[in-house]
Symmetry: C2
Subunit: 337 residues, 2 copies
């Protein structure tokens, strides 16, 4: 069974498998460099729904149902579903899952939710608390823009450090099956507040949390970046990624060759106008569940340290002048058991 | 280690202890029938803070720090903190914990959060993933009223079925210690949507979820209500409690003698003007962590089935005319190991 190593790091015993995974995205994400990896691409951002919240729920349902069918699972095979999102009271997850009959544990980890949910699903399976556990999350550009910034049709100007909320959802089903990708260990994030008060510069707010969790994971498991093909953050964007590389450089560790960021992978940073990169729970979820897990499954990547990052703020508290704390949860995904 | 029994029910192996618990409440809750049970009662609803959000965070910090000190724990003893609340993006939890250095897993279960967090903390300890795990949640009348209904100074009229959001927080520390109260089993809730669209009648929206989880727990563990001294929901209030009793009556089970609801216990239903009863994450949290766990510790109650309930809605989606889904997570708390 899963065992506490130390200070937030938990090692798996049986190395549960990510038996199935799927990603559903919007048109712009489908037009990006990973477009060929996704299971479902919608041309219509509304997905035929009457509100953006319901559109986002539907995207989450597509990711969930695709992940189930790709793995030969039905809903009744899923012992627990971990889900969360960015919307107030996480409604895209609750409304997305309300017609299923699956035991449901709601999470809030902002854009770190894919790592949080995947970590919990893996721990549940490894500890015998579930045979199959699903992890799902989503974001939608239009529901997020209205809630966090302005209604889309207002046409507000964006700052260079601002990130673009992905219209995307990802779902992973963790199972006792014995096939790659395997989950080997996780590190639970700590909340880090570096005093950033600019809601248009969330990469900076989250970089320290990613640095803390990644270094803690490496130290606690007695590994170095040499043990990994890819250190994958999501979503620091360009600004946060530069800070992360700099933070490691102070420890005399050059992660620049190993590091990539989901926010820099989902879009064409030159041709698609996303400023500092992608963001939103669905960004790292779709990059992981569309592209990265597939690469590990095919042994093109052998060891990935997935460190999704979240900015734990609300517009209310930012308007009150408070700083934005960040968090990052880490999951070690491997081609080898 | 914890083991999946079936359909969302997980049995504990080692029966982890709720080694320590504490509740911090506002003046009105302190004036209620359980006032003598609470560890901290504030006369000042602001708690000296400049925003209601920060006041709520402080209440959560008080519950957490009181629970730690009562159990002889320091922050570094806590391997993981499970926390969540009602505010947009769960900011009272994130900001409440941001100055601690404790691995943090954010949850969203609306008013079911005390049961969700206690269940996860218990599962982590039972499975060796934590030695000590904390569960904390809160609500604040003023932060909730402004966010979900109207600013307090607007003085809006309340409907008879409306519930009163408690200014309260509760924290439980689950540990490998061997002393009562023990956690014996949990049942993870499923989302139930009965088509209720009235945000002022959340008891009705949640009653079916409580019925589903309680009956599922009893069936899956082959127990009946006779095995329990108290079936404790939170927070159905008067309207939802009546529906729950009726739902069980259709199964020819009379739970009325065993059932009580945190929303009916926190306030004096005759003298305090709370309409259908209390609500908010802090309501069941403070009733559990102030009163019920103490009763179990002293063997005045031997077996309690704690079924906190949450309405998984947001004002946005209710304004769009959507119905309100409910969820209820169940934790069996016992004086006997």
């Amino acid at each position: 069974m899963a065992k506490l190593i130390k200070d937030g790091t938990i090692g798996m015993d049986t190395f549960p498998s990510v038996a199935s995974f799927a990603a559903a995205v919007g048109k712009m994400e489908g037009d990006g460099p990973l477009g060929h990896c996704f299971d479902y691409i919608t041309e219509d951002a509304t997905l035929g729904e009457s509100s953006w919240e319901k559109s986002e729920s539907k995207l989450q349902q597509y990711a969930f149902s695709n992940a189930l069918s790709k793995g030969g699972f039905s809903e009744k095979d899923i012992d627990v579903l971990f889900a969360g999102d960015l919307l107030n009271q996480c409604v895209s997850s609750s409304y997305g899952a309300k017609d299923s009959n699956v035991p449901f544990l709601g999470l809030f980890g902002a854009c770190s939710t894919m790592a949080e949910s995947l970590a919990l699903a893996s721990l549940f399976v490894d500890s015998g608390m579930a045979v199959n556990a699903a992890a799902v999350t989503s974001s939608h550009f239009c529901s997020a823009e209205r809630q966090f910034r302005f209604p889309v049709n207002y046409g507000g100007q964006r700052t260079p450090s601002a990130q673009w909320t992905a219209t995307a959802a990802g779902c992973a089903v963790v199972s006792v099956h014995d096939k790659a990708p395997y989950v080997k260990a996780v590190t639970i994030g700590k909340i880090k507040d570096m005093g950033v008060t600019d809601a248009n510069n969330m990469g900076a707010a989250m970089a320290t949390a990613a640095y803390d969790s990644i270094s803690r994971h490496l130290a606690n498991t007695k590994q170095s970046i040499d043990n990994f093909d890819l250190i994958l953050t999501g979503d620091l964007g360009q600004v946060g990624s530069d800070i992360l590389v700099e933070l490691f450089r102070k420890d005399r560790v050059d992660i620049s060759k190993k590091h990539n960021d989901c926010g820099l992978m989902l879009y064409d940073m030159e041709k698609q106008d996303v400023h500092a990169g992608g963001s939103g729970c669905g960004c790292s979820a779709s990059v992981l569940c569309g592209y990265v897990l597939q690469e590990v499954q095919q042994s093109k990547l052998r060891n990935v340290l997935f460190a999704a990052t979240g900015a734990l703020m609300s517009p209310t508290i930012v308007q009150q002048g408070e700083s934005i704390p960040g968090i990052s949860h880490v999951v070690h995904i491997s081609a080898d058991s």
